[in-house]
Symmetry: C2
């Protein structure tokens, strides 16, 4: 066993020990810790800025792109948001210990379920250092210990945040090891983290598709993963034209780089000639490039570029939209079945039966009627916060809040009952 | 790619196609299919007996043990149970399409969750052919396609049951490929099944610990697994002596070979001298061998054999019980933390605070107060049926009924809302 593996095993062992204490921690202790971390971060703004400067300088020397340097920077506003986030998570209801479905059985026992932490959560993420505080806070509130492995370019920033978290935890009488930020930039640490089922119960990777695919392939523990967001809006022939216009425009242009942004618009052939020119005008005005099928181009003309087969499977994350005219809801759902990444898909229709069919038959983590795909988000859904969006069906699906970081056990209350 | 791999890929492809149809199938269609299969099995008793005889003869020639031959046999009573099981599953409420937590958000959208099938479930099991019908029925009711791989010794029996299932499915207008029983005894089929995430969404192994450990190690899809059942009963100093006697005796002796049978009894030192002799007498009368710690033996004498360290970690599945005298609830919970397989653990106490602590702090799939561990069972819990008991924390924990075979998606109902 080499040094990194030994170090990670030791980190895992400490996390497991801390997890036992956290599972029994009171709501007050966890909230006190979160408030303490917020206060300490607030008082450490200078240190944070200083450590962040080291990362930014090293990043500039290494020739990181401006976009990456921007994500790396801990501006005062971002520190504010980080602190505010901690306080918001302290204010959320504690999911742990919740008892539900407690029912009497014919045998006389009362059977119910109690929400419990998962144990130890491993988070592997890339450049943004604010993830350190966000992810640690969500895991702490849900009674889990955390092992965080951030990007090497944010090393100093992450360590500074980690020190504040440790101090806050200890102030609240919780183990400092409840949140550990890996203190090495060696890539072998990731390999070790994802293959220690005895110490880590679940891995949540936050980063590009390449990172997530590699981790999923090699992990020996469950992974809550979020791959592409190729989202669709289908405008039905019975859609209200104004709702269709509003939803389609918002789903594409409210933000371009997010996973719940629409990438492909499907329009029923009966209404395409009425609907498309007005929408295309608004999109072009905002600088969105349109790529259409033949029928779309017959309506919109040459300014709409031809869509290739590849376009239907592309997450642009950019001001580009592919458009296809379809016969009916069946063809729309077939297209979605084939090309959707099963993140979020929406129908716009006034027809009750088609709305019900779409909701039931489209197999995506969020399925919507007459609403913008941009709503697929933990805050908008009322989860209070979000550690990621799962495109898996196992365990957690869609936006993952505190509940996705928990498990449930059965509890049985009796009066001496025995089985016959 | 060799022949077996190609065959399994083709099986997986067919299962995936069937799963799409099943996901949209109505409750009536699924129930009609289950009833039809029950009727066909009822009408095929002779064929079933004949095919089962082939397996039994081959088994005898291969020198299978009497216990294995017994498990392999499809007696008329077992066929009755299998048919009755199908009808019971038809009578259960359909979990698919259930909508819950549908709430309005400040943005005006209404967000809820809908229960959906997992997709394709792979079941790998050993000798008992009745698993073929039970597992297929649970998966079908929950809208999943199934690929079943039974033990080679039950090959003919399983194929006969598979033929009846296919006939019933087709009679109800559902794809015959909804339930496929692998038509080869080649072990490579298992290796292929557990490494096809594109076609199989979850694997449920049913069999010995060796099988389950091997599958978990090599699987590239999620596994709902059930390892040991090392269950404890802790008799507190504030236990009602009669309840403690009843629960301990029942937990050990109601059945010896089940995973929810107590394997270790922990007794508070204050009451051990009063409690143990009477219980030991009753257990010895039933032929149970006792293995105790030093304090236990000081009370029970030489007839109680000495327990070794290994005993605390052994699932006997036999009339053997290990007994340890402990100081208090903390030492009892420490013992459980170290030695329990996290299946089912119980406390017997009249003390409110200790009951609450035990429920909260013991990290097992079922935690009980004043009830026999033997209640840890899908039927006793009111799940209607059980496809297995999960000792994992991810996705499903404890007895797994129809709900454990489902996922949920978010649904959003709007009136044209867009995100600000």
């Amino acid at each position: 066993m080499n040094d990194i593996q030994a170090y990670m095993q030791e980190t895992g062992r400490k996390a497991r020990a801390a997890a036992r204490v956290l599972a029994a921690a009171t709501t007050a202790q966890k909230n006190t810790a979160l408030e303490a971390v917020a206060d300490i971060l607030d008082a450490s703004r200078e240190t944070l800025a200083e450590e962040n400067r080291k990362d930014l300088e090293a990043g500039r020397e290494k020739g990181l792109s401006d976009a990456l340097l921007d994500r790396l920077e801990l501006t005062p506003a971002r520190i504010d948001t980080m602190i505010e986030g901690l306080r918001q998570i302290a204010a959320l209801p504690d999911p742990i210990g919740e008892i539900f479905d407690l029912k009497y059985r014919p045998s006389g026992i009362q059977v119910g379920r109690m929400r419990v932490p998962l144990g130890v959560v491993g988070i592997i993420y890339e450049s943004r250092p604010n993830v350190t505080a966000d992810a640690a806070a969500l895991c702490l509130k849900s009674g889990n210990a955390t092992v965080l492995r951030g990007g090497s370019e944010a090393f100093h920033s992450n360590q500074a945040i980690a020190a504040a978290i440790r101090e806050g935890l200890e102030k609240a009488g919780l183990p400092g090891d409840s949140v550990q930020v890996v203190q090495t930039t060696d890539r072998a640490a990731v390999g070790a983290m994802i293959t220690m089922p005895e110490y880590i119960d679940v891995i949540i990777p936050r980063g590009g598709k390449g990172l997530i695919e590699r981790i999923s392939r090699e992990a020996r523990v469950p992974v809550i993963k979020h791959l592409d967001g190729i989202c669709h809006v289908y405008v039905d022939d019975e859609a209200d034209p104004q709702k269709a216009f509003d939803v389609a425009l918002n789903a594409k242009t409210q933000r371009y780089g997010t996973c719940n942004t629409m990438e492909t618009l499907l329009v029923n052939g009966t209404v395409a000639e009425d609907f498309l020119p007005r929408l295309a005008g608004a999109l072009w005005e905002k600088g969105v490039e349109l790529r259409g099928c033949e029928r779309t181009r017959a309506i919109l003309g040459e300014k709409c570029l031809p869509a290739t087969e590849e376009d239907w499977d592309t997450e642009y994350l950019a001001p580009i939209l592919s458009i296809r005219v379809v016969e009916d809801i069946d063809q729309a759902m077939e297209h979605i079945e084939r090309h959707s990444s099963r993140h979020t898909d929406a129908i716009v229709t006034e027809n009750y039966t088609k709305a019900r069919r779409f909701l039931r038959e489209v197999d995506s983590s969020s399925v919507m009627v007459n609403a913008s795909t941009r709503f697929a988000d933990g805050f908008e859904y009322g989860l209070g916060a979000e550690i990621g969006i799962s495109t898996d069906k196992f365990h957690a699906r869609g936006p993952v809040g505190l509940e996705g970081l928990t498990s449930v056990k059965f509890i049985v209350l009796g009066d001496g009952q025995v089985r016959q």
